[in-house]
């Protein structure tokens, strides 16, 4: 569509709980085949933004276009990977069954999953390295394995745009690598992926676009342009203990000496900055 080249276009998105605004007038434009991170401090409204775009929360104002049409018409193009902790992992079901749930939309009401759905689910499990666990009860999975099951479930949706809520949260290194590989494969296939992300240091490495959020949108665009120290300061306020020394940030703005730089050994820390309680 020449007049609107964006995969996702949200305008004036505002969400409030009671009278407290959680998202203030957020505009977002994401081109196709982009890996975009949403970063921001706790309570910045990252999850809320995703949920508002997906219509899981009713926004007080604003609209969302997916490939130039209202979200409601384009629902089938969108896949969602909720936070791992949002479901009960003691639910009596197995891995293959959970992955097949990703096919339920194309099945519609009443129709049951069959051999085709099984085959697609197994294929997706193969892609995330979880095929040997197909018959495993979900309560027996580790956190990283749970996350990969969720990703496989998103893959079988065969969506054009994916929203993932903290897929890297508390996963092991193997899973982190598997997720990154998967993200790149998705981009290769022309898909757009929006990821709520916590680790600032890996943003330039994993993503090509980034949105900095703190109730309002601080900045959104290519990592090289907007992932700057100044923007990070705006988003995180005075709460940054140390910042990623990314080549992009350096190119934009030389690091100020009074900010302690991360040592490479801190990489295994889940977060790039100390979190205050949400």
């Amino acid at each position: 569509m020449p007049d609107n080249p964006y995969a996702i276009e949200a305008t004036d998105l505002t969400v409030a709980y009671q009278e407290k605004p959680v998202l203030w007038d957020v505009d977002l434009r994401v081109p196709p085949a982009t890996l975009m991170a949403i970063v921001g401090p706790n309570g910045a409204g990252k999850t809320t933004l995703i949920k508002a775009i997906l219509g899981l929360i009713r926004p007080a104002a604003g609209q969302v276009l997916i490939y130039n049409k209202p979200y409601a018409e384009q629902r089938r193009l969108v896949g969602y990977v909720p936070q791992r902790g949002s479901v009960d992992w003691d639910f009596p079901t197995n891995v293959l069954d959970v992955v097949m749930m990703g096919r339920y939309r194309s099945l519609g009401w009443l129709r049951r999953p069959g051999s085709r759905e099984r085959a697609l689910a197994l294929e997706a499990l193969e892609k995330v390295g979880m095929a040997p666990f197909a018959d495993r009860q979900i309560s027996q999975l580790s956190g990283g394995q749970q996350q990969r099951v969720f990703l496989a479930r998103a893959l079988v949706q065969d969506a054009q745009i994916y929203f993932m809520d903290e897929p890297f949260q508390g996963v092991d290194a193997t899973t982190e690598r598997a997720i990154v590989a998967l993200l790149h494969a998705l981009r290769q296939a022309g898909k757009t992926v929006v990821v709520v992300h916590h680790d600032l240091q890996t943003v330039p490495e994993y993503f090509d676009w980034v949105t900095l959020l703190n109730v309002r949108r601080i900045a959104s665009g290519p990592v090289a342009e907007v992932f700057t120290e100044q923007n990070l300061r705006l988003a995180y306020g005075g709460r940054i203990a140390f910042l990623s020394r990314s080549p992009h940030a350096d190119a934009e703005e030389p690091p100020t000496p009074d900010l302690p730089m991360p040592s490479p050994t801190r990489r295994e820390e889940p977060y790039g900055y100390p979190e205050s309680a949400a």
């Binding site: 009671q18 949920k51 997906l54 219509g55 899981l56 629902r75 969108v78 969602y80 909720p82 949002s86 479901v87 009960d88 639910f91 009596p92 079901t93 197995n94 959970v98 749930m101 339920y104 939309r105 099945l107 009401w109 009443l110 129709r111 049951r112 999953p113 009860q137 309560s139 479930r153 949706q157």
Partner: protein, 369 residues
């Protein structure tokens, strides 16, 4: 067995099966106590329905009950959503409110009708065969049998038709919503099923004990299986067995049938809670004990491995040393050593302990993680 006895058992079994079906989803949605609330508040629907139709056997009573069930759940959610009241407290506020309105209405306007509070709370299965269903002048069985049978069929129909949707909305409501499956519709549909089931069970087991039939068999089944479909089938089977055993317990004790059925449901759950093969308390305790031994044996192997071949080995790798240095009680140390010897991890040689090749491998594996 007399025909009445057979009929009573049939009604009891069908009631138990009908309750177990929606009960499975209540358990999985962590809404077990909502069944208690609904089973009481449906009384309001029955009373209002009765005032409108003037007929206690009218099918509109069931409709009224289903609506009150849905109303109960919506009110609870409404009160909870203000964030001033927690969900459990919201249940505790809404359910007595609706129930008390029903009790007031009955005591004020319907004192002379069969709607008395004892029958509501406890039901009386023993009298069920006296109310006959005779549509064309020919007696074809007790009304309760047809009423509960109908409700069982409705539950079976909806749960098998919307099995996939119920599973999805119960496991991951967020995904269900994003896939366009209207989880709220499924939610209220399920609550409507719970409500009509509670109404049907009123006559037979009463509004208190119906909770036992909705919660205990599904909870027992939950401890026995990892598959939702099997959990449903097992819940129904356990419910039916409880009902029939309960009947005979009541016969033996000359006591309330509903009370005996609920007791059997409780006893069955207790037994399964203790003895379930994987998740029962006994299995858990056994597993923990085994892990404790395995841990101790591995610890011993690592200890021996670390000192192996070093000058102090003759000092360190002795059984007496374990109780002094590793701080194991002497008899525990002795048992750990003899277990590792039995397993072929360790050999005793003149009081000192030496790792075998197998034991060395175990130690290395454990260290490597």
């Amino acid at each position: 067995m007399s025909p009445a006895q057979v009929e009573i058992q049939l009604i009891a079994a069908i009631t138990a099966a009908a309750c177990a079906l929606p009960g499975v989803f209540l358990i999985l949605r962590r809404m077990a106590m909502m069944s208690d609330a609904i089973s009481h508040t449906v009384l309001l629907g029955i009373v209002v329905g009765f005032f409108i139709t003037k007929d206690l056997t009218s099918p509109y009573l069931v409709l009224g009950a289903a609506l009150t069930g849905v109303l109960t759940v919506s009110l609870v959610e409404l009160v909870h959503r203000t964030r001033l009241v927690r969900e459990d407290a919201a249940v505790g506020l809404v359910f007595p409110a609706l129930f008390s309105i029903a009790v007031l209405l009955i005591s004020r306007y319907a004192g002379d009708v069969h709607l008395d509070t004892d029958a509501v709370l406890l039901g009386e299965l023993a009298f069920a065969p006296f109310n006959r269903f005779a549509p064309f002048g020919s007696d074809i069985g007790p009304i309760a049998l047809y009423l509960m049978g109908g409700i069982l069929l409705i539950n079976l129909f909806f749960i098998s038709l919307f099995y996939k949707e119920l599973k999805l909305a119960t496991f991951d409501a967020g995904l269900a919503a994003s896939l366009g499956f209207a989880p709220w519709l499924i939610h209220y549909g399920l609550m409507a099923l719970v409500s009509i089931t509670a109404v049907g069970a009123f006559d037979t087991v009463g509004s208190v004990l119906v909770v036992a039939l909705m919660v205990a068999p599904p909870m027992s089944a939950y401890l026995l299986t990892d598959r939702l479909s099997r959990m449903i089938a097992l819940s129904v089977a356990i419910g039916v067995v409880n009902a029939i055993l309960g009947y005979w317990l009541a016969h033996l004790l000359d006591a309330s049938i509903a009370g005996s059925m609920a007791s059997m449901a409780g006893i069955t759950f207790g037994v399964i809670y203790l003895l379930a093969p994987e998740r029962g308390l006994v299995a858990l305790a056994r597993r923990r004990a085994r892990q404790r031994w395995e841990f101790a044996m591995t610890m011993l192997a690592i200890h021996l491995f670390n000192h192996e071949g070093l000058p102090e080995a003759s000092q360190e790798n002795r059984e007496e040393h374990l109780s002094q240095e590793v701080r194991w009680a002497p008899d525990f140390a002795a048992r750990v050593v003899s277990r590792t010897v039995e397993q072929g991890w360790v050999q005793r040689q003149e009081g000192s302990l030496n790792l075998t090749e197998l034991g060395r491998q175990r130690a290395k594996q454990a260290i490597a993680g």
